[in-house]
Amino acid sequence: MSGSLPRPLPALDRDNAAYWTGGEKGELLICRCGDCGYYVHPPVRFCPECESRDVAPQPVSGRGSVYTFTINYKQWVPRLPERYVLALVALAEQEDVLLPCNVVNCDPDEVTFGMPVKVLFEQCEDLWVPLFEPEGR
């Protein structure tokens, strides 16, 4: 779905910058507690599990599964693709970390609940936006 309508982009701050820029090195960076290993997302330097402040972005496998998804049909603004998939992907390392994304490189009708997916990145200005595609593509 790239190429037509530019993606609206988030403003970066000290917490979220790693997530939106790690793709430059091909890394999906998720904040993780250095003491107990819990993944903290959305990122903030505090672990709600053990109260540690030793929380920092760590590369993860980039694998996950489709927790839920939907197909958009409505042309909300000009130049939108005719149909595209919006999903929440559950991170393989910790399934309660849910990542909004488009699932790409497949027909929208192929997407199913629980489908294994892996990350890819699309550069947009100074960001590398995480997207997901079916495993094995």
């Binding site: 609206p8 982009l9 988030p10 939907t70 919006l86 929440l88 994304c101």
Partner: protein, 393 residues
Amino acid sequence: MRYGEKNCAITGVGISEVSRGSAKSSLELTVDAALDAIADAGLKRSDIDGIATWPGGDGNASGFSPVWIGQLQDALRLKLNWYSNGGESPGQYGAVFNAIGAINAGLARHVLIYRSMYEASARKLAFANSLVKEGERQRGGFAWYAPYHVHAAALQQSLYFNAYVHKSGIRPEQQAMIAINQRRNAGLNPHAIYRDPITLDDYMASPRIAGPLRIYDCDVPIDGSAAIIVSAMDAARDCRNPAIRIEAVGSSMQYRNSWTQLAEVDTQAQPKVAEMMWSRTDLKPKDVDIAELYDGFSFHTLNWLENFGFCERYGAKDFIEGGTRIALEGELPVNTGGGALSGGRLHAYGAVWEGCTQLWGRAGERQVKGDPRVCATSTAGGPLAGAMLLVRE
């Protein structure tokens, strides 16, 4: 009394003209609704000593919330002891919960609460209520969705509704009964926007918006305003109408307050909110005479039917099948004025207006038989939810 809401009552309700494009300003529509509510309660402008609203003036051209408390206070030259807005609250009923707090704190005795919309006019100029701010980087909780072309609430919320379809197995022809029932009710409501009946064939032929949502599953942007008066109980008993007590409220946030990390997206944040409401009353779901359930999208109504306990988890599809149980003459009349789907998007305050109109027995052709006394009503979706149980004395 243990719970402060029991010291409070709705004493009057008001509504402006509701249209798909008004000749009046949003402020004048709000004045119309406010004066209507004040008169309905048998009060004068000088009796109003508090104002609350949700979310408060938003300072943009979207029409989502065009009227600030200050504008209304000044237009009506009210003399207030207390006022507050606040969008970060348990859905649209956060304004009522704030008023309950103010009344119990002795800060006000008659609080005017309003919700005004001007989205019909706004949409003639731009894509009103877009989740994306054009030409700038996105901020706030929704920014996590920004790069994925999530331009509208319908798309974001359909992520949750598709999970509900997946888990419940509801079929489109069952889902359709929410919209069809409400259109039938709207046909009997002179304030409603869309009053011509729709059939299952109409529904199935209607455009798909996102996921399981068709256009009839989405509320209707309007120009209009609804207002209610919440009064201290001792003052309420001096008002014109029998007091409608706020028997119980649900205002909790027991989940992660996040549009991306919400657990159990198929039920949204409603179960614990409903549980809180029922914990504050001896009444049970079987005691409810009418239900005015949030219907920004039809799936919110399905969710609330289950989460209030009117049917079992994932049992809404069977409960609404054929539409007889939820019809005006059914065992639990739902969204009796047509709701936001057909009546127009007054954002939960249309629901309060209709519920009170029914409890006071003045709903005309759509009046529910049997002298209804108890109304369950609810707001919002996603991580936001608020619930109230209203009882007419």
